[in-house]
Symmetry: C3
Subunit: 167 residues, 3 copies
Amino acid sequence: MKKGREILKDNIEKTTIVLFSGELDKAIAAFIIANGAAAFDQEVTLFFTFWGLNALRKDEHVAVKKGFLENMFAKMMPRGANKLGLSKMNFGGMGPKMIKHVMKKHHALSLPELIELAKEQGVKLVACTMTMDLLGLQKEELMEGIEYAGVAAYLGDATDAKVNLFI
Amino acid sequence: MKKGREILKDNIEKTTIVLFSGELDKAIAAFIIANGAAAFDQEVTLFFTFWGLNALRKDEHVAVKKGFLENMFAKMMPRGANKLGLSKMNFGGMGPKMIKHVMKKHHALSLPELIELAKEQGVKLVACTMTMDLLGLQKEELMEGIEYAGVAAYLGDATDAKVNLFI
Amino acid sequence: MKKGREILKDNIEKTTIVLFSGELDKAIAAFIIANGAAAFDQEVTLFFTFWGLNALRKDEHVAVKKGFLENMFAKMMPRGANKLGLSKMNFGGMGPKMIKHVMKKHHALSLPELIELAKEQGVKLVACTMTMDLLGLQKEELMEGIEYAGVAAYLGDATDAKVNLFI
């Protein structure tokens, strides 16, 4: 027989989002949905894989030993939430500036603020260890307060969830 | 106790699709899935956000007051379903022409026809008010027969749905 | 009354993935999730539509009669899993080479190996017949061991599934 606590936990709706894309607009969409679901007391997991990992990178350079290709990836990929481009109308960086400007004007939270809010609301931010290996990203280069897991853990969460998105 | 009508409504399968992307091919895919689900008597919600809103714009210019950046966005973004580009092989507009040509040849519905069919079948077309604000799009600029809502309404629909996609 | 076998089948979790995108990185992500779910004994369907169909093309040229536009599509689209580009940092083909190199270094399965594994694990690979028609792709041009169906069959699978992704 299930105990009260377990029954309660079973009743909590779950949402998972895979953030595969490394663009500012898609990351904003992912965090707005994640924060919205968390505000409805849902258990939310954001799983960062491939280019999506760039949203979790620290702004500053972190000195870690890397192979040649891993170093090239690290240099070419945007370092953190403030450096991401747009999926449309990027115009060499003008687009992201425009979007950030209108977001500020409309008092919308910026991506770094959306990430902070997600952490405060208990959204589970998970970095995909397999693609970290491939792209040569190390834990020291990613922000604090995140978890590390592989596709099996993601699938465990997703199978329990009502809403599963791939962004 | 639930009444007969409510029980019936609970048994209807629900599908939600977020259309984030502003490309012709992705919009076509979204509407084909939406129309297919509606043909199976499912309750379908298409939620248009970011560049996806462009599929709902009227073809003609609508005179509305806008700020400078909002005007730039409005000018740079495609005006309506007939103006969208492709996510692949766009070739400065040749790609969309080729796709439209082969669709006509194979008697496939065009995007404007798919949108009409969706409305006829009762697919709920919802424009995301938050991104309308950001991109400076006003109700007068979007087609008739759509609804307006935010992420909370989307999440309400998605939590009830079996199939939830982000396109 | 349901028989034992049917009850058992009802208890199997199902996962569906629409692969719309024709890029190497997205195809890899789709197959890693599909193979992971299959390893957990889930019933997995990968539905290939639009550019995603290119991952199923045979490497070699197949002589089939085609119209002019269909021939152009066939020539411009990548022929098979080994020819796909990246969604980010493609650099005219350098990016895919870098990714393949680091995948080999980390003993990760290549895309053709992931496809083979998926077949061995019984993942259902389904080519969307409607977009095959549009792009002029014929069965002879696609790999062996796949199925052919339309959006109705996809929706049937998706409505039964817990996890549904659009990639």
